[in-house]
Amino acid sequence: MGNNISLLLVVVPLIAAPVVAVLPRGRLPWAVALVVTFLCVLFAGMQLWGVLNGGMISYELGGWAPPWGIEYRIDAVNAFVALIVAGIAAVTLPYALLSVEKEIPEDQIPLFYSALLLCLTGLLGITQTGDIFNIFVFLEISSLSSYALISLGRKRQALTSAYQYLIMGTIGATFFLIGVGLIYSQTGTLNMQDLTIRLPEVIHLKTVNTGFAFIMIGVALKLALFPLHLWLPNAYAYAPSVVTVFLAATATKVAVYVMLRLLFTVFPDSFVLATHAKDLFIVAGIAGIIIASIYAIYQRSVKRLLAYSSVAQIGYMVLGIGFASATGVTAALIHLFNHALMKGALFMAVGAIIYRVGACHMKDIHGLGREMPWTFGAIIIGSMSLVGVPGTAGFISKWYLVSAALEQGAWISVAVILFGSLLAVVYVGKVVEALYFKPVTESGRSATEAPLLLLAPTWVLVFANIYFGLDTELTVGVAEKATAILGVVNP
């Protein structure tokens, strides 16, 4: 096996996707997709284990030596992100069975799982590859399949939000492509390791600087960095529940990884520290935390509220990147992992409510917390993690983020992080109020607790939120190791 695992991680879901599409209706497509995602977790786990114990993995596709051939280059950073993506996929799939049967027309179910596997392929591919053009290709594989997945939502607004995402996503990807072309024209290479060596010689050229700007804007669009987040709230709000869970927990995380990789591995540190890019990230991060949180407070749909909260959480990650210090990047990586856990759990719990009552507007969920205690419990613990209550995973991310800010004496950032948590208390408080303290509606009285198949994956993520809030060895350990590999040091 050895290095082949890294390739199998991408190839297995890629080959499974068309197979699933032609399977007969019924539960067989789901079962195949489930097995594939479990295999992916196994591969990703073995890969991270291998990287942590044996060092970097390099796989040459088709035996063509880099920098000419495409190389999969795995170190602790991408192995960590790949495990997050595969792990979330494996938790989402058991959850998908009932939720998808309820929300997607029966004849489209095989195609749905096929698109989900393609999306997984793209996201895993981005993490695995060491070739910058290959990132663009995988980015488009994951994006195109997610446009299709979002458009499958039950309301017709799903179509318009998928269209809006398609337009903005394609502009983002094309910006990325322009940047890659400009940098290729000056360095003659696409291999990221090779770029690290060749870029310092040409870094002063305007072409390279322009390329850097195009790439960063392109990635920021994919990342939904404030103020380029306009596609995200609608896309998350109207997509089928399973798609929201999967995308919220993985897609933006992978874009954060691309940004980290490019900023700290590909481009020379001296260049990144000298440009105003990091100041821009801090400003965008701060604006995102405050403005998106305030928007979240005023939402009337729980899914939209959580989507705006996602934009705010991305602000925290970008703030960590903007500090450009080891602690800051470690905090960004930890939050990347923890946010996948908390948003995964919350969107799953909301999906369970949609499964029972068919809607997630504030007025539709009145009093449901008493009818669905386990779902309500998951929302409570997920919300606590989102706010950053000690004992939950969210606290660990906030702790590291505040430490990174204090290290640099960035008092405004510290204040913003704390104020953002306060705003989070307000918006999750609104959900809890509607769920528990409002009298139950006529239609809600008949609602019963969600089926076990929906609750079990939700609670797996809820327990993960508590576990990683108490035992930080894995998250912090891997994040620190990854930061060291990215070569970020405290200035």
């Binding site: 053009f133 663009f136 290709v137 488009e140 195109l144 446009y147 299709a148 458009s151 017709r156 607004q157 179509l159 318009t160 998928a162 269209y163 398609l166 337009i167 394609t170 502009i171 990807a173 094309t174 492509l177 322009i178 072309g181 290729y184 024209s185």
Partner: protein, 118 residues
């Protein structure tokens, strides 16, 4: 003057890029937006192909007596990007068809109005 004539293909690229992006932003018709997106993407294809040119280089097909070839790699990359572009356009048009079926219009402002009243 030479600055303009020597790099005329890049001027074409910039012009097309701006036309495409402006069309995407300014038009309310969903089909026109897709067309704008296509023009924008095509300008990037031109950019890549221009980058691949080597002054005095022949087409990158091995022939006797030719020493200097243009760089074929950007051409190959752009083949991939063209495929991606075709897929994006197909998906976008499919979405427009579905939007037309559910809203009976493909004008952005009318769609917004319909969603607010319902």
């Amino acid at each position: 003057m030479d600055f303009f004539t020597d790099h005329y293909n890049y001027w074409v690229v910039i012009f097309l890029m701006m036309v495409g992006l402006y069309t995407v932003i300014s038009r309310g018709n969903l089909i026109k937006k897709v067309i704008g997106l296509n023009i924008f993407q095509v300008s990037v294809f031109f950019l890549y192909i221009s980058i691949g040119t080597v002054e005095g280089g022949a087409a990158p097909i091995i022939t006797e007596g030719v020493e200097l070839y243009s760089n074929p790699l950007p051409h190959v990359l752009i083949l991939t990007a063209i495929v991606v572009g075709v897929a994006t356009t197909a998906l976008a048009l499919a979405l427009v068809v579905r939007i037309k079926e559910s809203y009976d219009t493909i004008e952005e402002d009318e769609i917004h109005e319909l969603d607010h009243t319902l």
